[in-house]
């Protein structure tokens, strides 16, 4: 019963995020500040509704909502929204939101395509406190990578568009975008290492008797980790910055997206619906 309430709330928040994205697109095209402000308002409403949806779902299922693909992608989008608000507060530039918000919206669309129904009975392998730790840290760190990705997209646009373009003038400076991307990754990387890799390995050892099984999702996460490690080394040791760094960071995020959608296709230990 309550699950269907959660589902209804989810669809309302879906509408909220789509309205926000549309308004942001309008803002990008027309430069009308009002559109940006309404977009923020809709993001706020959608965020509140999504929080309610997650809470109701959690209560109905008697656990945190992070056990199947639908729940994971929703949680990921929710963390993305949290970062959206944080970055809005720090940088006070709507245009950053204009890039973060569509990515969040794409995640919500993906979530909407996944089966929502879940039982409150977890299979025995998932009955462990490691579930909360591993999944929430993974979602949080990947949301940080999402913010870096949004900054990278803006970087590419600003870089390619001519200086005379009015649109390019509205984007923040290249240096700032580079800095946002860097900061986001330095936040996400340790959480990803500890949450996605270590917590996952420890849990795998308790449940399946092996720290690391070269399962497709594990290898995918390792590849993502390699790419972001290369990014950090390139920045610290080789003093990379700017375009090269942005490209590497964007590759990392695309691979991140592939790791969870790849699981639907390839199966493996992580195929929990």
């Amino acid at each position: 019963m309550q699950q269907s309430l959660a589902t209804q709330l989810f669809w309302w928040c879906f509408l909220g995020y789509s309205a926000a994205s549309l308004l942001y697109v309008g803002y990008l095209v027309t430069e009308k500040k009002k559109l940006a402000l309404s977009a923020t308002a809709f993001m706020g409403i959608a965020f509140v509704i999504q929080t309610a949806a997650l809470t109701v779902r959690g209560i109905a299922l008697n656990r945190l909502p992070l056990t199947n693909m639908f729940e994971y992608v929703s949680l990921f989008a929710w963390f993305g929204a949290v970062f959206y608000f944080i970055f809005l507060k720090i940088y006070r530039q709507q245009i950053i939101g204009a890039f973060v918000s569509p990515v969040i919206f794409m995640l919500i669309v993906s979530a909407s395509l996944l089966p929502q129904h879940a039982s409150d009975q977890l299979v025995p392998a998932l009955q462990s406190y490691w579930l909360q730790i591993h999944v929430s840290l993974a979602a949080l760190s990947e949301a940080a990578f999402l913010v870096a990705f949004a900054a990278n997209i803006m970087y590419f646009l600003k870089y390619r568009l001519s200086e005379k373009s009015k649109f390019a003038a509205r984007l923040p400076e290249l240096k700032k975008l580079d800095f946002i991307s860097y900061k986001a990754i330095t936040f996400g990387y340790p959480l990803f290492t500890i949450g996605a890799l270590f917590a996952g390995a420890i849990w795998a050892e308790r449940a399946w008797g092996s720290f690391w099984s070269w399962d497709p999702k594990e290898v995918g996460s390792l590849i993502v980790w390699f790419v972001y490690s290369a990014y950090l080394h390139a920045r610290y040791v080789k003093n990379w910055s700017g375009l090269r760094a942005a490209v590497l960071s964007a590759i990392g995020f695309i691979l991140t997206l592939l790791t969870f959608f790849g699981n639907l296709v390839l199966g493996g230990l992580h195929a929990y619906g």
Partner: protein, 524 residues
């Protein structure tokens, strides 16, 4: 003489300490000889540098020194190669690329499946290169080994050497130098120099800075640095990465892992150990909706004299550990008996309508007050009859066609003995007055354990903890240097200049620090 070009090359490369001493020794002897002193380069050289530890004598063999120098140069080149960031980036990219193959091409399938899916040429290529079991091939392990060496040498050359800089203060020359630091601030306060110094040191200590003070020419300079932990953290991180790789390798080479199905009540020996494991019981717990909640086994470890050493209930996520062998609840299945108990409905004269009774498999039970006894002999989960031998057997352990052979006796006389079927209630239903039908059964399970020995496990645990601490130090601590100059003796008071350097985005922190120092000084 010695090959001058090699000398020059080694000098150019820097060489290791031994080589530099030799070259210095040679140069000295050369200049002595040039200034007319009679020297025998070779024997004097040996004497001069106390080279008794050389594996062979230089006497008369000047070329040996050349070989040694050449060898040293080679060593340096090898070390530089293994300690290069370029190698690290190459390895990371290669590992990434190779791992992608491991994801896209399904692993550990039968050889024929690869040929079927990718054709003969590609399929055979996959099998030949080992891509079908990528992560256990020698060349993949080799990549990881080279990566470990790379990390180790890099850690020494780049990180370990930086450790020395943590505690060495780096004072600037004059007041003006400090003013030239970007973001330096100068202000005046009406405080005595010594008191100001004490106040500032207190503030800095509160912010976890390590300070050093220098007084020169009437100028008091304070140098504060923090974040030495960051370098230590980086070292810990990289070394623990090697620990993880070594731990994994040890586990793979010196450990084992296998599955064991144990019927309830049975005991099996554990590989290479002098004890056995017995499954006392297995329970499948379901919730009211019929979904599986948990599966639990009670295990007892027995030594070879059947003395019980340890007993524990295990379930998924909660394994049993005994003498470095771990027993994980991995799976379960229906065993050869098929069922522990069957639920039969019996009809006939003297029996209540709809009467049901539970019968343990292999036992005879009497219906009280009737003289009727029932025996459930054998149970099959998936009954089929072999047409040639007319023998029934179970096609699988899935309950596709549950059946039980039942004998019914009245007053000691066998009335009938039949196979009866859960899914075919009317088949063989009755033979005379009495009728028994199979209504339900309780499956008889065996427990599926995974038994594992992992000698690399402690190293992996240490690696994980150390790496987490290293990550924390590297990413959540900041590295900063602060220079403060106090020039007393001016009419209007003490001139304080503060300059700082820091990583990205430390401007805010610096502002706050300068503000705090200023306000503290103004209060005294």
């Amino acid at each position: 003489m010695l090959n001058q070009s090699i000398l020059a090359k080694v000098e150019g490369m820097g060489g290791c300490r031994a080589c530099r001493r030799w070259i210095a020794g040679f140069r000295e002897l050369e200049s002595e000889r040039d200034s007319g002193v009679r020297v025998s380069i070779v024997s004097n050289f040996e004497q001069k540098l106390n080279l008794k530890w050389l594996p062979f004598s230089l006497r008369g063999k000047r070329s040996h020194a050349t070989w040694l120098l050449k060898g040293c140069m080679l060593m340096k080149r090898v070390i530089d190669f293994f300690g290069s960031i370029r190698l690290a980036i190459f390895l990371l990219i290669t590992l990434t690329f190779v791992s992608v193959f491991g994801v896209i091409i399904p692993q550990d399938l039968a050889a024929s499946q690869y040929i079927q899916a990718w054709g003969v040429i590609a399929g055979k290529l996959i099998l030949f290169t080992g891509i079908n079991h990528l992560f256990s091939t020698i060349w993949f392990h080799l990549l990881l080994i080279i990566l470990s060496i790379n990390i180790f040498v890099c850690s020494y050359l780049r990180i370990f050497k930086k450790l020395k800089t943590i505690h060495s203060p780096h004072f600037l020359k004059t007041h003006a130098d400090i003013e030239h630091i970007p973001n330096a601030r100068t202000f005046l306060v009406n405080v005595q120099a010594e008191i100001a110094e004490k106040t500032i040191l207190k503030v800095l200590a509160g912010k976890l800075f390590k300070c050093a003070v220098e007084q020169r020419d009437g100028l008091i300079q304070i140098y504060a640095g923090k974040g030495g932990l960051k370098i230590i953290g980086s070292l810990a991180f990289h070394l623990s990465l090697i620990m993880l790789l070594i731990g994994g390798l040890i586990g793979r080479m010196a450990g084992f892992s296998y599955n064991e199905n144990i019927p309830q009540g049975a005991a099996v020996p554990v590989r290479d150990q002098d004890f056995m494991v017995r499954c006392d019981w297995f329970k499948l717990e379901k919730n009211p909706r019929g979904e599986i909640k948990a599966f639990v086994s009670k295990l007892t470890i027995l030594d070879n004299d059947s003395t019980e050493l340890l007993t524990k209930e295990i379930r998924v996520n909660h394994p049993l550990s005994f003498r470095n062998i771990n027993f994980y609840q991995s799976s379960y299945g229906i065993d050869g008996n098929g069922a522990e108990q069957v639920q039969l409905m019996v009809t006939g004269p003297g029996i209540l309508v709809g009467f049901e009774i539970a019968v343990q498999l292999g036992e005879t039970i009497e219906i009280p007050g009737t003289g009727i006894s029932l025996n459930a002999e054998t149970f099959l989960s998936d009954f089929v009859m072999d047409m040639n031998t007319r023998q029934p057997y179970s096609r699988s352990t899935e309950p596709n066609n549950p059946a039980v052979k039942v004998s019914l006796s009245k007053d000691g006389n066998l009335v009938y003995s039949h196979w009866i079927f859960l899914k075919h209630q009317d088949y063989h239903a009755s033979d005379g007055e009495f009728r028994a039908s199979l209504k339900d059964f309780t499956p008889s399970y065996f427990t599926g354990l995974k038994i594992r020995k992992d000698p690399g496990s402690p190293l992996i645990w240490i690696g994980i903890i150390l790496m987490s601490l290293g990550l924390y130090a590297m990413f959540f601590l900041s590295r900063k240097n602060i220079w403060i100059a106090l020039s007393p003796g001016s009419e209007s008071g003490l001139q304080v200049t503060i300059g700082s350097s820091g990583g990205h985005g430390s401007d805010n922190e610096n502002e706050l620090l300068i503000g705090k120092i200023k306000s503290k000084l103004e209060k005294t």
